[in-house]
Symmetry: D3
Amino acid sequence: MTRYELGLKKLEEIDGQAGTNVIESLKDIAPDFATYLIEFPFGDIYARPGLDLQSREIATIAALTAMGTATPQLKVHITAGLNVGLSREQIVETIMQMAVYAGFPAALNGLFAAQDVFESLEPDTTC
Amino acid sequence: MTRYELGLKKLEEIDGQAGTNVIESLKDIAPDFATYLIEFPFGDIYARPGLDLQSREIATIAALTAMGTATPQLKVHITAGLNVGLSREQIVETIMQMAVYAGFPAALNGLFAAQDVFESLEPDTTC
Amino acid sequence: MTRYELGLKKLEEIDGQAGTNVIESLKDIAPDFATYLIEFPFGDIYARPGLDLQSREIATIAALTAMGTATPQLKVHITAGLNVGLSREQIVETIMQMAVYAGFPAALNGLFAAQDVFESLEPDTTC
Amino acid sequence: MTRYELGLKKLEEIDGQAGTNVIESLKDIAPDFATYLIEFPFGDIYARPGLDLQSREIATIAALTAMGTATPQLKVHITAGLNVGLSREQIVETIMQMAVYAGFPAALNGLFAAQDVFESLEPDTTC
Amino acid sequence: MTRYELGLKKLEEIDGQAGTNVIESLKDIAPDFATYLIEFPFGDIYARPGLDLQSREIATIAALTAMGTATPQLKVHITAGLNVGLSREQIVETIMQMAVYAGFPAALNGLFAAQDVFESLEPDTTC
Amino acid sequence: MTRYELGLKKLEEIDGQAGTNVIESLKDIAPDFATYLIEFPFGDIYARPGLDLQSREIATIAALTAMGTATPQLKVHITAGLNVGLSREQIVETIMQMAVYAGFPAALNGLFAAQDVFESLEPDTTC
């Protein structure tokens, strides 16, 4: 399996439809960037053993909440967290904890992003 | 148990000696801040159920690596990660993944922080 | 008076209706976080002597402008600045000064946030 | 020629209508800031010899993409890049490269900003 | 009085010896930048009426603490804060408050910077 | 030529000895990360047509100066800029311009990094 094929499989497993949408959205402006996005983050990094996918999504949700500059990607990864089996509670706890490291506004904005994602989904069955 | 007592217990469980050192270092400049640091992050947040301590340390290591502005605190939490049972491999994977979200320099600087911590410890027995 | 009661009093004094709205907005996604938000920032920090509320709001407006990642919270604190007696001019000066420390885009975006807040209020009677 | 006159000339050469709009938008909230914006960035910095305007716009597009906190200003400078003769391809390459230094979300958000700008313009004749 | 002369006067009033040192340190690498630093921040911004110097230093200390990327400049402005009449307590309060907006590590690193400055000075007579 | 081989060639062309040092420094802590660093930034991105290496280094120097969290990597790329033919003047101009977008402290710290690099080299023959 090539890095591209492995990455595409991981992207679909983790991000689901949202991942496919991102790839699609790049096809006019920078199609090669879609390839890199599949190959490096998903074909190289998320495909590695040594850290399970739930832990990887906790890391990503934490980082994007703390950075505060990537709301669309944070929402994709909140969905991804649910896809790989995190509960809504685990996601909310991860985001709340960021108040300690990046301040209350970062945590608040992360919580509102989570609320947007949760409201757009089926009624919660994870907690 | 008061928030302070619970926080102090959690701080010692998670950060060990490094946590005590931070509290000690604040006694001249801002002793009340040491109290807040024990009470809110440790007495309120880390004491919550809903996310295990290993996941909480992954979240913190990820965020501090991505932010890139808090090397001393990152080192404290790399040690804390080991204290709560993360393997060196899990910590390194978490940091490497930040290349995707915060760039290669952030991940590189995080890896060098981890190397400093690991070298200062007993020979690795976690992986 | 408990930290919660003191914090709620300070929150209402400083942020007014906007503060109450934030608390309300958290009730579905993370009600405990609303409690922390009342207790630590408002019950612990803003309730401290040693720095008057006008100076505290200048500090917050400066920081949120410089960080550039928290526009909704910046607007709340521009309103809060007016609530505790800062003039529009003092707020605009604080934001403009951030061009020196965080760049012209940060200051510009802060000024536009201030304009949004000012336009939503009664005609200015502070300067 | 005063700094103001030189800056205004440079602003119009580089940012075109978008620059004039920014100046106009400041006239109620902070007219002096419009003066500073003309004088220091454009009258002092962009007017300097030693680096051509195409290189200066590459630097600005790179920085604003990496920072991720100034989307409106990034769009102004993507337009400015085209104004001073950069091709769409050079702009897209600059933004894509930021994935290495500031992470994939920063690059993605920069690419979507570029797409917005390009779609609002005449059909591309630069590449 | 030219902007340069006014700026130099303000720089000396506010930053004292530390300001002169920064100007001196630029003479080999970028002497024109020393001129800009005197003219725009000090000749234009700090010279403005509408916000007193104590408030301006609170704003700067808050922003630099929150940003966490400019420790040398933060130390210069902690000294400047004392120069314009802020007490050590007001400075410490400003920095502590940043835990709310930029996280505990930012506040901790700011407090340690303040401790370094205070220890390098005469025994405190401000509080 | 594989991505790895192409990346290694580009890394040596651009970063020279400093690049080799970074790869070497990763061999204990995260050898796979050295591979990724060679393959994605250098084998994929810097190897692309569409933007010359001098422009790519201007973009990187600008971004790292503006971010302010990656001094070691900024120094590597200041050296890299010289390696691909930028003059010291072009590098200094790029860094100074960042005062506009990321503030004076970011530009100052970038200039001091450049001074460190220049002083460690042979006497300047580029301008």
